[in-house]
Symmetry: D2
């Protein structure tokens, strides 16, 4: 689940408990004195302070200001540099690899304004640098009448080239269509009642329209965007899981919905004082874990993308044929996945494409677990001449604001797709458009890999035929 701010703040507070910053090292020095001190010190001296426990390593940014004036910005660049020095010392002293050379991990290519200031408090803590992920571009991907050039961040060789080939096949076929058929982020706290009967009572109470309305009002009071769409209640003994589903504008929406659910809980607790809210997330949400509930009921955007590939395109661009793709789809995506006991994995490699587009556009890659749920179907149409290909993805969790989307590079990738930031005219339209592009790119990726597999099979079958012939 989304790490709450509470966790981070607790991290800070509790840190004092067991590894307390010992201000006495500074004698009677006040906080502003400390700032002066750190500014005056060399990097190595600050590292000494950290090692003595006087400055917590995770608070370096806050302790190192860009100037001694009040209101000065945290000096992230220097903090990063000092943390790396500290890390080298620690590695030399206590790690399994005392000679570890971390110099190759870049950090200095970006400055305070461009990167670290933005990251601080939003995206990462205890920063020591960055990993540059190469970004390739595929396309044009003709989708719903527009042409997209889709950025993919990946280190898996051939993925971008293969997806690009899929785009060419789609382009040669006149373009693909994508549609959102369901939309709503979900969150399901686990509540504990004193009896199963009361668990049922709570469920029945929530099923009453007027009670639902009261819950909805509280829920929606917390944000301009959060609109409660549905609330389903599951019961297991005394445990109750209330799965809230809501519109979240152009944000992926986990933070928004968490806040809203908290407010809704107050209404419930008013009516059922014995409710014990064990956790804001009870795993019925389900966030970042495999589950049938997302596959069945959706999470985020449910998207379908499809294209009809003419037989000629399949032969010329994809080097295989309609029949071989239909057979492979049944044997691999349907029978194979069923044999493997897969729920939601009826595809070839949707995860590859979803991950790469997510990383390029600042989505949360840990959500690929469910966002890559996908059924890829290929059927002969027009009397067996052409091929209908579709990907159905029930849980594409994306946003165009918040999270990693505001970092410069990722923001530029969203720009390429025309979906950066919030859509003011129609809140949510940008995120939905992004979900469609993800599905469209998956469609291209599936077409290309399935064809490569089928073509290999055809080549090998042809060779086998040759061998047999020669034998005679």
């Amino acid at each position: 689940m989304k790490i709450s701010r509470a966790a981070a703040s607790l991290a800070g507070r509790s840190s004092r408990a067991i590894g307390p910053r010992n201000c006495r090292a500074f004698g009677s020095k006040s906080q502003s004195d400390l700032l002066h001190s750190l500014s005056d010190m060399s990097d190595d001296e600050v590292v000494d302070m950290v090692e003595q426990g006087s400055v917590p390593i995770y608070k370096l940014e806050q302790e190192l200001k860009t100037s001694v004036e009040s209101g000065a910005d945290p000096d992230c660049t220097r903090a990063t540099r000092i943390r790396r020095k500290w890390l080298r010392r620690r590695l030399a002293e206590q790690s399994p690899n005392p000679d570890a050379d971390i110099e190759e991990l870049p950090y200095a290519e970006f400055d305070q304004d461009k990167f670290y200031q933005q990251v601080l408090g939003n995206n990462c803590e205890l920063v020591i640098g960055f990993v540059p992920l190469p970004v390739g571009v595929v396309g044009p991907l003709p989708l719903n009448g527009e042409e997209y050039h889709v950025p993919m961040a990946t280190t898996e060789g051939a993925l971008v080239a293969s997806t690009h080939r899929g785009c060419r096949a789609i382009k040669a076929s006149g373009g693909a269509q994508a549609t959102i058929f369901r939309d709503g982020m979900t969150r399901a706290p686990v509540l504990k009642m004193d009896s199963g009967s009361n668990a049922v009572a709570l469920k029945l109470w929530l099923d009453e329209p007027e009670n639902y309305a009261a819950v909805k009002e509280a829920f929606e009071s917390t944000s301009n965007y959060a609109r409660l769409l549905d609330l389903t209640t599951s019961i297991a003994g005394r445990n109750v899981f209330t799965r809230f589903k809501c519109a979240t504008g152009d944000a992926m929406g986990m933070n928004m919905i968490s806040k809203a659910v908290l407010a809704a809980m107050e209404v419930l607790k008013e009516e059922f004082p014995e409710i014990s809210v064990l956790s804001l997330s009870g795993n019925v949400c389900t966030d970042k874990k495999p589950s049938a509930i997302n596959w069945l009921e959706g999470r985020g955007k449910s998207v379908l993308a499809e294209v009809v590939l003419p037989g000629e395109v399949i032969e010329k661009v994809l080097k295989c044929n309609v029949e071989s793709l239909v057979e492979l789809t049944v044997s691999k995506n349907l029978v194979g996945s069923a044999v493997a006991g897969s729920i939601g994995g009826n595809n070839a490699h949707a995860s590859n494409i979803v991950t790469a587009v997510f990383l390029a556009t600042g989505q949360d890659p840990a959500q690929v677990v469910e966002s890559s749920n996908c059924m890829t179907l290929m059927e002969a149409v027009n009397g067996g001449k052409d091929l209908h290909v579709s990907v159905t993805m029930p849980a594409v969790e994306v946003g165009t604001i918040g999270g990693g989307t505001s970092l410069h590079a990722q923001h530029a990738c969203l720009e390429m797709l025309g979906v950066n930031g919030s859509n003011n005219e129609e809140p949510g339209a940008n995120a939905r458009q992004l979900a469609q592009v993800v599905a469209g790119a998956v469609l291209a990726g599936e077409i290309s890999l399935m064809s490569a597999l089928a073509a290999n099979h055809l080549v090998s079958a042809h060779m086998a035929l040759g061998r047999k012939t020669r034998k005679e």
Copy 2:
């Protein structure tokens, strides 16, 4: 599945088919003439060539050499720059966002030698720049007697801080243990027989020790590292899925095993000429998709990490107590996940940590789907005083060579953990060590988030108590 080179190569070939490079534009110019021409041209002129279809956009690197001498390196830096210019034109003309500004996507911070040369042919195609993912460090994480500082690449705020807090709890508890209890990469082609009876015959043939030995010999002839460990055969009508499981040294091993399986297929086809190898991957592998088979039988490394947290640490560092964590574990990780129909998702947020460590260390983040399968258990021990916490992860797919691991930044992160490259003394030891660190970091992350949730519950229960008291 892993995109085969075949797919990439097909991409190239087929591109000529439908969007052929029209050399006639150069009249009678030979290939080396073209090189001269491109070297002499301005960037914009090359873009013109691309738009005319004379130079394929995905081949820019190969076409642009660093000099006109034979054997000169591809000029990746220039290729990237030109591709960006081309992209800007395309966006302006045909995309939904003609004003798209992609300048914020960085590319020039790294040069040919440091980045692009390495990426070319290994990690990404059609490169237009890179996304810098911030890297934070958590630790020390005491594990099996060593102390690790674990790099995490993420844009999810609070994740690093939270995991860091978990490390502190583990440190205060005297350290954690991690063990590999199973190890082997898997690949299962789908074979089609002419009848179900022959499908059974194939299975029974493979179950014979001497036949298995023959298959094993062919399999292992393809690599110094690939060692066949097991072969299980599933049947569905005329479809046969042969799941090969093998040791792959320090590589994650997908390429290695694919090559080996191809060789094994030849042995099978010799005995059963009617075999039709529909695809090298039949989804029973199962790669990058949810499945019960990975959960049950493992894929990559199966790891268990555990720690006993003294009650005192739970209270002081984690701000909750043994009882609340035990209750939350049952209601959320066990009951909640069961209610959601989750197979492999009995945890709080393993995927978050796995993803961040994978991205920092050059693993394939698309494999997080199964690598984050995890059961997190918390039980009261020592008469309820302390807490035993464990994470059991059956399918951690990692390698310390190949894929993204050789890029500079990721390589540096592996260095931090002392597991870069191949372990010459004991092949596979580095990859196994990395898997243990991943599990250890997940242990820390689970401890921290579960505690934050439980602490919130306790706080809120306390507040509710206060309210009730006040009411009276």
Copy 3:
């Protein structure tokens, strides 16, 4: 799925096609002549006719009337007797066991009126006798203030005795509570559209209240009981699965809902002429097969039954203790089932009890597959002194009219529970009550078996302790 009458009728029709009744064997004899002939013939002569193909073996009842008067009843008793003679001949001539003695299969203990007349056309075809299943009774089972004596038909030794013990524990604890928290039979045809976009269009159309109302009206026009409660639409490419959920009075409801769905289809086809209704059941129903959808969204009655067992009862009646039962619940029902990749199987042996009560009361035992889905939870309460036990069963599919419920024996078993036939005052109340009794009996069965397992463990632990002591 429920076999439609259509299938049976087709069976008849098509039988004529390949194994046609050759009336010419009778020369010019008319049908009534045939009746005379058969009445005049000896049993062996009729068997000859069957063997010659003149009388279809499955039509014996219809061909053999109790008298030659028009409107006479089929002579089921004689038909059964003759069919057994025919069978003996067939076995002697063509079966793997020519000496097979089928005399031990009883048939003559019941006569026409008592059994065969009732079975004909309702419950079984090609009848050759009956299997007597022994019925045991357990109880009293105190549930919701009533005391039930529950009939169980089984051949599994110890099952009745064990469940009886569970009832005694519940009785000693002051009785159990059961509640229905959801109710509705489901049926989901699979529709094929010409495109995925139109599949989405159909879904969105159905989501509109006025369209839903039109569908509901058509649906409900087919029966006095069928009331449409919900309609959810799933999409996979061009396939659409519309899951209708409806109240069905006291019938289990499969026939009722099938008829209603057919009517609803007409409304859809009116609006979307391109709809191809591939099948009335598209497996999203899901009938008689494992599925997450029933586990998550229920089918038939969703029931929860619970009891608080005082520690004293656990020790005296069940010979174990609170702690051992809690530990076993977590390790077996939660962790074990999760490890096995079970969806819906978080229990010890719910299926045993459900099957036995189903068989005694004329339910469809093939529906045990989903009706036995159950989560059995045991938690310490009252400071660890007592034990809260609950069974949550989302898909108990029962009826008190139709199917096997009208046969004399099964009807008598329903009488024992006070739920025979339709409840005229409150349609559906009888079926709901039966579902609660099923859950109550499962509660008893789970308590007893879990305790036996825990007690074995305690005994063995005690013995081990003894051994250890002796060793010293």
Copy 4:
């Protein structure tokens, strides 16, 4: 799971604890005196004794001897009659239906020798009568060169007729083939270790050939038939699940394997004294519950049955065509079941046929949950002219001795199939043959229902076409 004798015996023992038989009511009368007393008493007087608590209701058989001589048989017939009288009183006094008439539940049609004596101690306790299930016969079913007439006990109208039609289609196609491709009953106790590391140590210890040999020796010492075939170990934290798989001759084998596993546990406990055997069944077996492990690794017999249906047969007998059956198979059995989140339910109604054959032949119908796991595939072959149909069933749990198989009626049904009792020449051959017949009957049932559905679709499509034509 199988109810152990221990449970039944505990039931007896504990009964004394809370509802003790008060012998003091008889003053100083000895046990043989009591026998005299009961023999002299009228039925109503004995009921009085039961109501007073002097005779436990579940012990009536033992208390009522057929004569007063020592060694006399229990008088089951009288016991049943008296228990019914007692029940009528109880129902009149305390049940929700005081007027309940249980006379329609038959009991007197069978006598002591024929039925009750056999049931006692083997199949049912607290007997009050029996439910007669009608048995129909389908066939001939040509399978592996033999012709079977298959008995089915069911109350679901049309099921027998429909399966019979499927047999005719198979017969017209020249017969079906069935093959066993895996065989072994499984049982997996849950063991608790003191740490996860030791859980791993136990697994690694068991993986050593010499340790496995020691376990195997102990395991096999308990029976002439139990042969250990495999042992796989799953780990979840400190919980270890050791899944034993063994040959069990012609018995279904649950009792046999349970005894053997107990012996094996002793070997483990010798080596790892800290092992706590929480339960002989840890739900990884998995018995009578849905699970991926049975689907993947099998339980009981794994069987495949198949037939090629010529197009002509499909049209004449089944009234549909190849194309419609292929399309329906994909949309319903593969796509539909995947959409529903089904693991093991890729079929139309396997459960119906399995249940009916199980009930007729004395199998345990509670095991239908996993025994009905089935993938039904239909593919066009011979250039689209004919249809290959297969059912793959990984977990058919059957036996021809033990359980309900020795009751007269069920025994006669086994005789019909030539598989009654133990096969002395080749132990296990009868049970395997029965499994093949089950699969063959399922094949027939699937062919018939799928065809009926497809034919309905064709009819309705034809009618729609008519309507459209008329409109023009």
